[in-house]
Amino acid sequence: MNKPVVGLIAGAVLGLIDGATAWFTPAVRSEMEGILMGSSVKGMVVGIICGLIARKVHSTAVGLAAGAAFGLLFAYLVAMMPEPDGTHYYVQIMVPGFVLGALTGFLTQRLGTAPASVRESKA
C-alpha cells in the first residue's frame, strides 16, 4: 500500500472518529451527519497531502510538522463556517485537528511503502 493511500485511510478513520466526538456537544448533535462527512473528508485531504510528502521526504519530524500544519489549516477552514446560530467552534475544531493532523503525518511516515527514490533526511 503506498503512502498516499495510507494517508487517505488513516485520515478518513481519524476524521470519522474526531467527527463522532462531536456527539458530546449537544448543540451540534442535530448536524452529526454533516459533521461526520466533513470531518472524514478533511481527514482524507490532510492524509493524502501527508502521504505525498512522505513519498518525497522520509522524516518523522517533517511528517509530524506537515501533518500538524495542514491539519490546523483545514480545521481552520472548517471552523470558519459558522453554525446556523452564527457560532464558531474554532478551538473545538482546530486544536483536535492540529493533533490528528500530526498523527496522520506520523502514520504516513511509518506505514506504507515508499518509492525507491525516497530522499532521506534527518528526522
Binding site: 473545538q92 486544536v95 483536535p96 493533533v99 500530526a102 498523527l103 502514520l107
Partner: protein, 293 residues
C-alpha cells in the same frame, strides 16, 4: 661425562624447531602463536610482496586436513588459505592471510559497549553458520580463536580440530570450558550444536553487568547441556541476538507483562503520546465547553 646446560638444550631445541623455508618463496619473520597442532609464524611472501601467516603443523601430520577444510570455506570471517606445502623435514605448512588485530579476549579488555560486543558476536555467528552450511564444525570455538581486526572485522581462526558434521570428535579436541558435553563422549557423532554450545559460552563472556535477562536466557539456551534444548542452528541464535539489539522480544525469553508493556511503550512512544494528547485535548474541551461559549 658432562651434560649440556639447560640453556644450551633449550637453544638447540628452538633451533631445530624453527622450520626451514629457504626453498620456498617465504621469508620467516617471527613466531606469532602456538596451538596444540602447530606454530604460526609471520612471514614475507617474496613473490607477491606481502606479509602472510604461515602455520607449520607439528610432526606427524601427513595430510594437511585443516588447509583443505579452510580452502573450501571462502567467507569474509574465515582467513583464506593461499598456499600449502611440505618442508624438507616433512612437516606440512600452509600460508594464509595475516590478520592485523587482536584476539577477542584481548579486545574485551578495552571494555567496548554491549551493542558493539553483540554486533561482533553476530559476525562470529555468520562465519560459523557459513561453515556449518558447508558441513564443517569448528569444535574449538573460544575467545582465543576469534580475531578482531583493526576495523572491527571478525575472523574465526584455528580450524585445526574442525570436523565434518556427524564425524566423531578427536579424542582430545576442544577447550573444556567451551566444549559441549557430547564432545567428550567417545565415538558420539557431532553436529553443529556443539559449536552452538561454545557460542553460548562466548556470548556469556561478552555480557556486561547488569546482564539483561533476555540475553542471559539466549546464552543459557545456546549452551544447554542437552543438544535438543539448544538453538537448532546458528542462524536462530544470531537472529535472537539481533532481535535483542533491535529491542524486540526474543525467542529464548518470555517477557513478563511489565516488560512487554515497557517494550510496547519504547517502540510506540510518539504514537502513544499523540493519542494521549488527543484524548487529553478532547477531555479538556469537554469540561471547558461552558467557558468556551
Amino acid at each position: 661425562m658432562s651434560f649440556l646446560p639447560d640453556r644450551a638444550l633449550d637453544h638447540l631445541r628452538d633451533v631445530t624447531e624453527v622450520p626451514d623455508f629457504s626453498d620456498t618463496r617465504y621469508q620467516l619473520e617471527e613466531e606469532i602463536g602456538r596451538g596444540g597442532m602447530g606454530v604460526v609464524y609471520g612471514a614475507w611472501d617474496t613473490q607477491l610482496e606481502r606479509r602472510v601467516a604461515l602455520k607449520v603443523m607439528d610432526a606427524g601430520y601427513v595430510i594437511n586436513q585443516e588447509a583443505k577444510l579452510l580452502a573450501q570455506l571462502e567467507h569474509p570471517g574465515i582467513a583464506p588459505v593461499y598456499d600449502a606445502g611440505t618442508l624438507p623435514d616433512g612437516r606440512v605448512y600452509y600460508a594464509m592471510r595475516l590478520i592485523q588485530g587482536c584476539r577477542l579476549d584481548e579486545f574485551l579488555r578495552h571494555e567496548p559497549a554491549l551493542p558493539a560486543r553483540l554486533r561482533l558476536f553476530e559476525k562470529i555467528c555468520e562465519a560459523v553458520a557459513f561453515a556449518h552450511n558447508r558441513g564443517v564444525i569448528h569444535c574449538d570455538l573460544k575467545p582465543q580463536n576469534i580475531m578482531v581486526g583493526e576495523f572491527g572485522e571478525v575472523f574465526v581462526v584455528d580450524w585445526g580440530v574442525a570436523r565434518a558434521v556427524d564425524a566423531a570428535p578427536l579424542p582430545t579436541a576442544g577447550t573444556p570450558q567451551y566444549m559441549a558435553p557430547e564432545q567428550s563422549s567417545p565415538g558420539r557423532p557431532l553436529d553443529a550444536r556443539a559449536d552452538i554450545f561454545a557460542l553460548g559460552r562466548i556470548l556469556r563472556d561478552l555480557m556486561t553487568n547488569p546482564i539483561p535477562r533476555p540475553l542471559a536466557a539466549i546464552a543459557r539456551k545456546a549452551s544447554a547441556e542437552d543438544p535438543a534444548d539448544r538453538f537448532a542452528d546458528v542462524q536462530q541464535l544470531a537472529a535472537d541476538v539481533g532481535r535483542f539489539l533491535d529491542g524486540l522480544a526474543v525467542m529464548a525469553y518470555r517477557d513478563t507483562v511489565p516488560e512487554r508493556l515497557a517494550r510496547f511503550w519504547r517502540q510506540n512512544q510518539v504514537l502513544l503520546l499523540l493519542l494521549g494528547t488527543y484524548l487529553a485535548v478532547k477531555l479538556l474541551l469537554y469540561f471547558l465547553a461552558p467557558a468556551l461559549k
